[in-house]
């Protein structure tokens, strides 16, 4: 079943020149369409500035597209009534790249994780406490962390708290925008495995936005390659890439051992 449908999304940032009032429009995203099934993981890769993050923010409803529409479970995100919007908010969550910046520095971990529950569920205080502990267990963190402030945690712990917050409402889709890029390799792998187990357990769908091709390959069922705000190619799992842009991206992966130099992988 189709969970998310993106139709002909376009985004322009306009620069207005004051004297002549000539509008100068910079295209960020041009005519992007794709759809996503339930429980699927879709990777979006591309160079910096190719519009991946903007696309992610448009899907989340944080930013408005200039043209086009985003349908989430058949509801148009930008013309929804506030009741529909609230439902969409519940099923559509995000994990951002900069984990520390996405926490309010004045809140404890408990308050951070409690927040989505306060907004959507009618739990009592004890039920909320149980749920928060459950979430911490789910991302393999100790319960004692709940009373700490975000600044007291390590980067990996922060990122896992971020994931826990996204999971709090049992969403159907999580947009992971460079969610693991700032972590070290071992933590990256750990979190990726965590995400995969959660996906199997809860039938989650992911949109995995990254410039890290290896991680994206590990996670995704399908990969979209973007350049200059356009979709260049769609690579199915197990297929090889055809388009020169994707080939260039794949060739840029550094070999893990010096012996592997000059060999083109994939």
């Amino acid at each position: 079943m189709t969970l998310l449908e993106v139709k002909n999304i376009e985004k322009y940032y306009s620069q207005r020149q004051f004297i002549f009032r000539r509008k100068h429009e910079i295209p960020i995203i041009q005519k992007v369409s794709f759809s996503l099934r339930e429980g699927e993981c879709l990777g979006i890769v591309g160079q910096s500035g190719s519009g991946k993050s903007t696309l992610g923010r448009i899907i989340l409803g944080v930013e408005r597209p200039t043209n086009g529409e985003v349908l989430f479970q058949g509801v148009n995100l930008y013309e929804a009534t506030s009741k529909d919007k609230k439902m969409v908010r519940r099923d559509l969550q995000a994990v951002f790249q900069n984990s520390y910046d996405s926490f309010n520095p004045k809140q404890t971990i408990f308050e951070i994780l409690e927040e989505p529950l306060l907004n959507f569920e009618h739990y009592s205080k004890i039920e909320r406490q149980h749920k928060v502990m459950e979430l911490l267990d789910c991302v393999e963190l100790a319960n004692t962390i709940a009373q700490k402030y975000p600044a007291q945690l390590s980067g990996g712990q922060q990122q896992r708290i971020n994931i826990a917050r996204a999971l709090a409402l049992n969403p159907k889709l999580i947009v992971l925008d460079e969610a693991i890029s700032s972590l070290d390799m071992i933590l990256q792998k750990h979190i990726l495995q965590l995400l995969q187990t959660l996906q199997k357990e809860r039938k989650l769908a992911y949109i995995f936005i990254s410039h890290d091709l290896q991680a994206t390959h590990f996670m995704s069922d399908r990969i979209l390659v973007m350049q200059h705000g356009q979709l260049m190619e769609e690579i199915q799992k197990g297929q090889t890439c055809q388009h020169p842009v994707s080939q260039e991206l794949y060739n840029a992966i550094l070999p893990s051992h010096p012996r592997g130099r000059n060999k083109i992988r994939y």
């Binding site: 944080v62 609230k86 519940r90 995000a94 951002f96 900069n98 996405s102 309010n104 989505p116 907004n119």
Partner: protein, 270 residues
């Protein structure tokens, strides 16, 4: 090491000014119990008395006890300045938050109106208002609350708007927090230290403005022992009895200095 030293110095500065201001505040609250004489009791036969055990700071041109008047004056000078700041900042938080969240046309109009009003110096604006309302303590309060409100609500609006782009605000929106929850849980706790510092810094300014109005005769009226008023009354006897202007003047200087010290320590500490 130097960091530690600096911090403890700031702490000392803060606790020192807070302690003295606390004592002054208590003196103001318990003034009726501590006053040796009725500050309004006129006794012409006892005018211009030198300081004595009975009259610690002597008497003024109507034979009223200066010490009692200064004690009661804490309520009018310090008390009304604190009242003004408190009401102004609370109203400003509501107004600023409302405008910052609504944006659009309301925001645009608000900013234009603020710009126009802020084009006048604060004192001139307050003068104009007082001229319209007529001189009295209540009207001084209204005029100063109004001028402070414009300044503060604009400041709070820009503080809030500056936070709109913060990632944690967006994360909170994605978690479903809207409106009041957003302000109470996210915006407000993060701007509170800035607000406290600025409000404390301006208390001194407001005390000076109240005293200034009374001195000119536009503010508090005659028998009330406001410090600016007392300076004004002592003005006529400056050659024979300069101490009548000196005592309330020193009281104003002391309180304003303490507040400025407190505010600067808060600023450094942040």
């Amino acid at each position: 090491m130097s960091q530690v030293k600096k911090l403890s110095h700031v702490n000392y500065k803060k606790s020192f000014s807070l302690t003295i201001l606390g004592i002054i505040g208590l003196l103001g609250i318990f003034a009726p119990l501590l006053m040796p004489h009725d500050p309004f009791a006129v006794d012409i036969t006892r005018k211009f008395l030198a300081p004595s055990w009975e009259y610690p700071l002597g008497t003024d041109h109507l034979g009223r006890c200066v010490f009692s008047r200064i004690l009661l004056g804490i309520r009018y000078s310090l008390g009304s300045a604190l009242l003004i700041q408190m009401i102004a900042i609370i109203l400003a938080i509501f107004l600023g938050a409302f405008v910052a969240l609504k944006r659009g046309m309301i925001d645009f109009l608000f900013i234009r109106i603020c710009d126009i009003l802020l084009a006048f110096p604060t004192l001139v604006l307050a003068f104009g208002l007082l001229g319209l309302l007529g001189p009295s303590l209540k009207n001084v309060l209204i005029a100063l609350i109004f001028t402070q409100l414009i300044y503060y609500s604009r400041m709070i609006r820009s503080l809030f708007i500056g936070m709109n782009e913060k990632e944690f605000i967006q994360a909170a929106r994605i978690s479903g927090t809207t409106g009041v929850g957003l302000i109470v849980r996210h915006y407000f706790p993060n701007v509170l230290p800035i607000i406290v510092t600025i409000v404390a810094l301006d208390v001194g300014k407001v005390i000076l403005e109240i005293a200034g109005f009374s001195f000119i005769g536009l503010g508090v009226q005659a028998p009330i022992p406001e410090w600016g008023m007392m300076v004004n009354e002592g003005k006529q006897y400056i050659r024979q009895h300069p101490e009548l202007m000196l005592y309330p003047g020193l009281a104003i200087v002391l309180v304003v200095l303490l507040f400025n010290r407190l505010a600067s320590s808060l600023k450094n500490f942040e």
